[in-house]
């Protein structure tokens, strides 16, 4: 627990490292992080127009839905996939400097929030370009994003701990994430499904996506989505902190 408290005092390190990593990653490219923006724009334009024709749905609602879904999925799956190697990738820091371990998941989250900020304009351009109204309700996406981010933070710490001990988790996650993408409402909305809408709500990723996408598309999220997030926050952080408390001294030996 002291580790977490110390991590709060290291905000400067977290912020610096996140920006420094984004910078290092795009060091020798001309467009840098704008490649993310371009990729998202290209992907949603291509998929959006072909699928809206294929499924005979109205492009004005379908393409913004898909764009928001893709952007949020990149954010969520990016954090989960990378959290499997969260500690082993930072081994050179963990094995040489006495820094709180909790700075690593925070840094990972911040880095993906920076990427998300690069992608978000695509949604607004697509929505406005197609004439889909952006209402004041869209502001509700921000508290939604905060709830989502806090949930992803414990998830990253939890997966990071398990992944540092069991190296299979990395490959397992790489295999499962594309499958999860298909059974999560990325390309569609839960209410598009005629029969299995209630089944898809058993998938936590549906809640992760919809808490932000509902307000973006103009209506507040259903109250049960918010409740699920709150329950996950309490239970998730509880379990993660218990595990972290027991195991964080061992992580330096695992990485």
């Amino acid at each position: 627990m002291a580790d977490i408290a110390q991590a709060f005092q290291c905000t400067r390190i977290i912020v610096f490292m996140a920006f420094s990593d984004v910078k290092a990653r795009y060091k020798r490219s001309v467009l840098g992080p704008l490649w993310l923006t371009l990729g998202t724009a290209g992907g949603s334009a291509g998929l959006g127009f072909i699928w809206s024709e294929l499924f005979h749905v109205d492009a004005t609602t379908f393409v913004p839905t898909l764009t928001a879904g893709l952007i949020l999925w990149q954010f969520i799956s990016g954090i989960i996939t990378e959290s499997t190697v969260l500690f082993s990738r930072q081994a050179s820091i963990i094995r040489n400097l006495n820094l709180p371990l909790a700075i690593h998941p925070a840094q990972l989250l911040l880095r993906h929030l920076i990427n998300l900020a690069h992608n978000a304009p695509v949604f607004f351009i697509v929505a406005l370009g197609l004439g889909h109204p952006i209402t004041l309700t869209a502001w509700l996406a921000l508290p939604g994003l905060i709830l989502l981010a806090l949930n992803l933070l414990w998830l990253a710490l939890f997966i990071g701990l398990v992944g540092a001990r069991f190296r299979d988790i990395e490959y397992l996650t790489t295999m499962v994430m594309p499958l999860l993408m298909l059974v999560s409402p990325v390309f569609y909305r839960p209410n598009y499904l005629p029969f299995s809408e209630h089944i898809i709500w058993f998938n936590p990723f549906s809640h992760f996506i919809e808490i932000v996408r509902y307000p973006l598309l103009g209506s507040p999220p259903p109250i049960f989505v918010v409740e699920t997030h709150l329950v996950m926050l309490v239970v998730g952080w509880g379990v993660t902190l218990w595990l972290f408390n027991r195991q964080h001294h061992r992580v330096a030996f695992w990485v």
Binding site: R12, F16, M17, S20, R95, N96, L97, F166
Partner: protein
């Protein structure tokens, strides 16, 4: 005021082979009871430090000697607070800086200057402090224009210079240095010696692991010998 006190410190670490690192074997182990347990779930435990006790205070400069695998690096990491003992207590007061592994905390894609900032931040300095020390680091490393190049282009000696310069410029109370230090050339060794002597004078604890007894005699006033995880203080003139 630097203090470093170990009381009966025992450090054990697990060696996971590919089998015990694998989740499948853990699951098989649960599902098959004890039958193949010896093969699937076996984790070797190495006792790297065995009831190590000592006390260091300001002005102590310690040379750590011992065979490969005697526990020198583990002891340095335990001193730094990276490894935690399973029993015994460690008392540490003062800011610690480490030069343990080459390239620790550096990003090979970033330039020398950017890495100075990166390592400085990691070691807890503020941006203003780092900028005020950059000139001094430039002078010490004598890397000149190389500091504008990415660190991946550096030789190991150059990287050592940079690491050592940043680590010592943080004005640590406790400086822990592993053997990597030996990769610097003669000129660097001379400058490093000056810097270290100044540092030891300006209160602080210095611990240096090396196989080079000559260097140990130059820098240190106490010598610890590690053998199979047990620590023994020896007379500096006896090595």
């Amino acid at each position: 005021m630097a203090i470093l006190k170990f009381d009966k410190v025992t450090v054990q670490y697990p060696i996971y082979n590919s089998r015990s690192m694998s989740l499948r074997n853990q699951l098989v182990r649960i599902s098959t009871g004890g039958r193949i347990e010896s093969e699937a779930g076996h984790i070797q435990v190495v006792t790297a430090l065995n009831e190590v006790s000592f006390g260091l205070k300001d002005g102590d400069s310690v040379g750590l000697i011992g065979h490969n695998g005697a526990g020198k690096s583990t002891l340095l990491r335990t001193m730094a607070g990276v490894y935690h003992p399973i029993s015994g207590s460690v008392v540490r007061q003062g800011r610690v800086a480490t030069v343990l592994e080459l390239g620790a905390g550096m990003d090979p894609e970033l330039s020398g200057y950017e890495n100075i900032i990166r390592m400085g931040i990691l070691m807890g300095l503020s941006m203003a402090e780092i900028l005020s020390k950059t000139k001094e680091i430039e002078d010490f490393t004598q890397l000149g224009d190389f500091l504008q190049l990415p660190v991946r282009t550096y030789s190991s000696g150059m990287a050592t210079r940079l690491m050592f310069a940043v680590a010592t410029s943080t004005a640590p109370d406790i400086l822990l240095v592993d053997e990597v230090f030996g990769t610097g050339d003669a000129e660097f060794q001379v400058k490093a010696k000056e810097r270290m002597e100044a540092l030891i004078k300006s209160v602080g604890i210095f611990v240096f692991a090396s196989h080079n007894h000559e260097l140990v005699r130059q820098y240190c006033n106490r010598v610890f010998r590690l053998e199979h995880g047990c620590l023994l203080e020896v007379d500096i003139n006896a090595i």
